[in-house]
């Protein structure tokens, strides 16, 4: 019973835990940036006048959005990296780190794309027509007029996607990379599955995600386009 309420392991392993969360943060930030870029490219494809691009974008989103993340990461780590020997670095740790990021961002990009597409639907058609009427090309009107307004209208949903991504990093354990949840599992093995360890890690994730939620809520209000 005593060991069940023992917060000692959290203190003893504090440095390891921090390192685990630091890995979580790096995975999240890197994947978020790549997912945002890829998601933007995908949504541009999905609204483009070229049927081939539209189909490719739709196909990608439907596949990635409907495949469990665990499978995506296993495909990256076992299929692409181990079986096909597509290594991204000679150091196995770094190799798995990048494959984990590749899997997370490929998966998250599908959700970013769909959020942005919903955002584009909130932009009145007249905005794009006025853009075309002054002689902007399709890409220019998307980049300068439609997407900036679409982004501003979906900041809150993008925040939710970022929070989901932060928590989804726990699954990269299947891709062989050590982050916070892997540290937790290791501690369960070493010290037994105690409540304090669990609570400590749960709090750690909240320290990351709660401010994210507040920040995006604030940003959404600040950048809202007034019509």
């Amino acid at each position: 019973m005593e060991s069940l309420l023992d917060f000692g392991p959290l203190v003893q392993e504090f440095a390891t835990i921090l390192a685990g969360f630091w890995s979580t943060i790096r995975l999240t930030v890197m994947s978020a940036v790549l997912a945002l870029v890829l998601g933007t490219v995908l949504v541009a494809m999905r609204v483009s006048p070229t049927p081939v691009l539209r189909s490719v974008g739709t196909f990608y989103v439907n596949i990635l959005r409907n495949t469990p993340l665990t499978l995506v990461l296993l495909l990256c780590a076992l299929g692409l990296s181990d079986t096909l020997q597509l290594t991204l670095s000679r150091d196995p740790g770094i190799n798995y780190y990048w494959w984990a990021i590749a899997g997370l961002s490929a998966y998250t990009a599908a959700f970013v794309c769909e959020a942005l597409r919903a955002g584009i639907n909130t932009v009145p058609v007249g905005q794009a027509e006025a853009a075309r009427a002054i002689g902007l090309t399709f890409t220019q009107s998307l980049r300068l007029i439609v997407l900036p307004q679409a982004f501003r209208s979906v900041i809150a949903p993008l925040g939710s996607i970022l929070i989901a991504l932060t928590k989804n990093t726990t699954i990269v354990i299947v891709a062989g990379y050590i982050e916070a949840s892997a540290v937790m599992k290791q501690m369960f093995d070493d010290y037994g599955g105690t409540l304090p360890i669990f609570l400590g890690f749960a709090a750690g994730y909240m320290v990351l995600t709660l401010p994210t939620g507040f920040f995006f809520g604030w940003l959404a209000r600040r950048l809202a386009v007034v019509r």
Binding site: A131, R132, L136
Partner: protein, 251 residues
């Protein structure tokens, strides 16, 4: 209003047809617009006025016939089409100012991104144009902070900033509160005086009488009648035009 020596028309529309599904909206339309001419398009709702207007800068593609602008057929797509559009201004009923950009940025975006003008030069010219439409003091506000009449005047300045060869107006005053209509019409009358080629869809008879060279009456997808404003409003030839005029004259 000004006479122009150049005899070739700026716009020549020939046998243009356009359908939305089963709905035949433009039926064998023929129309020419000379340089410096102001043409008012008038007619009942659903008659195809907007569609014709939008076909002139290919916001709406046509099914058959030809539209020649400044000696060249309208390009179908791509950069050539974008270039054509940069030469044809358009003012919409709902203003359509870029909501996330300030007034001055609305006016300078086209010159900078399409014409490759420097920001400094574009802003100097943009401020002159805002001055001309009476909005210079609001240059750093956002569209939503302006009244409808002010927004529409900015939209006209945005079109002028591209130095277009022609400006299309699709019911520019229909979405405005009555007290704001005149301020927009005054700007348009000024443009007409300065020799701008204009195609204006409007029911403002005062504007037509003061500024238009010609009135084109459209109904059910056809051009039913064309005449000078005075002749048209006092002596319409067709029953459809007479009927329409009797309805708009009662209010």
């Amino acid at each position: 209003m000004t006479e122009n020596g150049d005899a070739t028309p700026l716009v020549r529309v020939e046998n243009v047809n356009k359908s939305f599904g089963a709905l035949h909206v433009l039926k064998d339309i023929n129309l020419t617009v000379s340089r410096g001419e102001v043409v008012v398009v008038i007619g009942p709702s659903g008659g195809g006025k907007s569609t014709l207007c939008r076909a002139l800068n290919r916001l709406e593609a046509i099914d058959s016939g030809s539209i020649v602008f400044d000696g060249k057929p309208l390009p179908a797509e791509g950069r050539a089409l974008a270039r054509l559009r940069s030469d044809v201004g358009m003012v919409f009923q709902s203003f359509n100012l870029f909501a996330h950009k300030t007034i001055i940025d609305n006016v300078t975006l086209g010159p900078i991104k399409v014409r490759g003008v420097s920001r400094e030069q574009a802003e100097r010219r943009g401020m002159e144009l805002l001055e001309r439409v009476g909005i210079a003091s609001q240059a750093h506000k956002y569209p939503a902070q302006l009244s409808g009449g002010q927004q529409q005047r900015v939209a006209i300045a945005r079109a002028l900033a591209m130095e277009p060869k022609m400006i299309l107006f699709d019911e520019p005053t229909s979405a405005l509160d009555p007290e704001m209509v005149q301020e927009v019409l005054d700007v348009m009358i000024g443009l007409a005086r300065d020799g701008m080629t204009m195609v204006v869809v409007t029911h403002e008879m005062g504007f037509a009488r003061r500024a238009a060279n010609r009135v084109v009456f459209m109904s059910d997808g056809q051009i039913v009648e064309e005449n000078t404003p005075d002749e048209f409003f006092t002596n319409a030839r067709t029953d459809r035009a007479k009927d329409f005029l009797s309805k708009i004259l009662t209010h």
